[in-house]
Symmetry: C2
Subunit: 315 residues, 2 copies
C-alpha cells in the first residue's frame, strides 16, 4: 500500500519508514526538519519506493495538495514536538507542532477520504499519577505538560474524526522510547555531558525518577503487528515494557558503556527533573498483552542496547 | 475585581456579564460577534463598569495587548463555537473558535500572570455513552463531535497550564443550557419552524432523544457560587439537573406556549438528530451536589420558562 509517514525524518519516524519499506510498501514522508534530520533519511535517497516532501504540516493548503496528489491508503502520524523541556518555555511550539499537525492531517484525511490512521500518543496524557497503574479506560487524564496536553487534545480529535468519517484509527500511548537516531532525553544528555567532562556528571532531580524505557525496534514491531488488524473506530493501547529503569542506573550504564570510572555524580535535587516531568510512572499493559503482543527487551536491556548504538553512531 | 468575559456577547456570556456587574465587579468583554450579538449587550452601553472590545481571540498579539492594558484578576472563558451542527460540516470552526481561543487565553494568562480561570466545558466531551451515568473522574472521554473534541482538548490545556503556572481553574461541564438570548438548538428551531408553518412540525430523529436541559439562571448561579472557592489546580464539575426532557415533550411545550393545536408531527427517523448528536445521556451530579449546590429548576421547568422567555422577547 501507499502510506504517509508524517514526521518521518525524526527518530521514531525514520525507523518506521525503514521497516515499512522493508515490508514492501511505498512510503511518502513529510517533515519540516524542526526536530527531524536529513541525515536520518539520507540512505533512502535512491530508493524508488520512497518520496520526501520538506513541508510544514501546519500549512493546511500545502498539505491538502500533497494528499490530492498522492492518494494515501494509510497515514502514520508521528509529526510532533517531542522535546517536553523545550516547549515548557514556549507552549506555542506544542500548539503548532503537536496539535495543529494532528488537526490538519485529520482534516486532509476527511477531505480526501483516507480511512486508516496510526497516531503516536504518549504516557504524558495521564499526568502525574504516582503509584497508580495507568490503564487506558479508567485512569483520569490530567496532563501536566503542554506536550501531554497537545497529545490528549490530538486523541480527542481522533475520537471525533474517526466517528464522523468512519476512520479506523490505531493509537499507541508510548513510554520513553530509545534507540538509534535518538535526539534528546536522558541517555543522549548523559553521553554529551560525559564527552565534555568525563569525571563528573550532573543529574537533574534526585536520580530516583523511574520510568519504563522501550527500544524503538520493539515499538516498530508493535505498530506493524497491529496496523492490519484495526477496525472502524479507535483502538487505543498503552505500549511498553513492564520493567523500569531509574536515572541513576542509566548513569551507571552510560559510564560503563563509555568505559569511564570513577565518575562523580552530583544531583540538582527534587523529585522531578523539571516542572512538567513525571518522576515515576507504571503502565498497565494488560490490554496489549491480552491482544497477544509483548516487548522483546526489558527496560534495562533497551537502555544498554541504546547506549551501545548511540556510542557506535558516527556523528 | 476586574474580570474578562471572553465570548461575552453570546447567550451564556451576556447573562454572566449581567450577573457579574450586579455583584459589583468591573467587566471587560471580548467578542468577535461570530455567534455573539451586539443586541445582547446594548443595555450596558452607558455602564461605566463595562468595557467592550470587538476582537477575534484567535489573534494572539491583539489579545496580549488587551491583557497588558487591562490587568485582569479573573478570566471567564465562554468564547467558543456553540453550534455543533454547523461545525460538523467544517471542523476548522472548532479548531479556531473553540480550541485556539482557549490556547490563546491561557497563553495570555501565563504571560501576564493572571491566576484565576473559569472555563465552560460540555457534556460532549464524554461522547456517546448510552445508559452510563457520566461521572467526572471515571467515565472514559471519547467525543464524537468536533465540538466535543475541541472542548476536551481545551480541558487538557487547562490541566497543563494550571500545573505549570499555578492557576486556580474552575471547569464546569455544561448540559444543554437554555434561557433568554438563546440563539440555536431545539427550542429555538421549533419556535421558528412553527412561526413559518403553525400546522406541521418536522422533528429530527425519532423524537425520543432525551437530555437534561438547564436554565441559564441556574448555571450562572453555579458559576458565581463556586468562583470564590477554588484553590490551585483544576476543580472540575458536571453541572446540571437530574431530570430530563425528550424532544417530543419539548415540541408539546412549545406548541402549548404558542397556543397551537392540533399540530401534526413528522419525524425524520433514526436515534440521533444528526451525526455527532448524542441521543441520550445522564449526568452523575454527586460531586457538585456533595459540594452543596443544586439547580433550582427541573429540566421540564427550564424548558417551559425558556419557551415563555423566547416568545416574549421582541425580535
Amino acid at each position: 500500500m501507499k502510506v504517509l509517514v508524517a514526521g518521518g525524518a525524526g527518530f521514531i519516524g525514520s525507523n518506521l519508514i525503514d521497516a515499512l519499506l522493508q515490508e514492501g510498501h511505498r512510503v511518502v514522508c513529510i517533515d519540516n526538519y524542526f526536530i527531524g534530520k536529513t541525515s536520518n533519511l539520507v540512505h533512502l535517497k535512491n530508493n524508488l519506493d520512497f518520496t520526501l516532501y520538506e513541508q510544514d504540516i501546519c500549512n493546511l493548503d500545502a498539505l491538502s495538495d500533497i494528499f490530492e496528489k498522492e492518494n494515501f491508503d494509510f497515514v502514520f502520524h508521528l509529526a510532533a514536538n517531542s522535546d517536553i523541556q523545550a516547549s515548557a518555555a514556549n507552549p506555542l511550539v506544542e500548539y503548532k507542532n503537536t496539535y495543529t499537525t494532528t488537526f490538519n492531517l485529520l482534516e486532509c484525511m476527511r477531505r480526501h477520504e483516507v480511512k486508516k490512521l496510526f497516531f503516536a500518543s504518549t504516557s504524558a496524557v495521564y499526568g502525574e499519577k504516582n503509584g497508580i497503574n495507568l490503564s487506558e479506560e479508567t485512569t483520569p487524564l490530567s496532563p501536566i505538560s503542554y506536550y501531554g496536553a497537545a497529545k490528549l487534545g490530538s486523541e480527542a480529535l481522533i475520537s471525533a474524526f474517526s466517528y464522523m468519517n468512519h476512520l479506523s484509527s490505531l493509537v499507541f500511548r508510548f513510554p520513553n522510547v530509545i534507540g538509534p537516531r535518538l535526539t534528546h532525553g536522558v541517555i543522549f544528555d548523559f553521553i554529551n555531558k560525559l564527552k565534555n567532562n568525563p569525571g563528573e556528571l550532573v543529574i537533574l532531580g534526585n536520580g530516583e525518577q523511574t520510568k519504563p524505557y522501550m527500544h524503538v525496534s520493539d515499538l516498530i514491531n508493535g505498530i506493524l503487528s497491529f496496523k492490519g488488524k484495526i477496525s472502524e473506530g479507535v483502538s487505543l493501547y498503552n505500549i511498553g515494557v513492564e520493567s523500569q529503569t531509574n536515572v541513576k542506573r542509566i548513569a551507571d550504564i552510560v559510564c560503563d558503556g563509555m568505559g569511564l570510572s570513577p565518575v562523580h555524580y552530583s544531583f540538582t535535587g527534587g523529585i522531578g527533573g523539571w516542572r512538567g516531568d513525571v518522576p515515576l510512572f507504571a503502565y498497565n499493559l494488560d490490554k496489549i498483552h491480552n491482544a497477544g503482543w509483548y516487548a522483546s527487551m526489558s527496560s534495562d536491556e533497551a537502555v544498554m542496547r541504546t547506549v551501545r548504538e548511540v556510542l557506535d553512531c558516527k556523528p
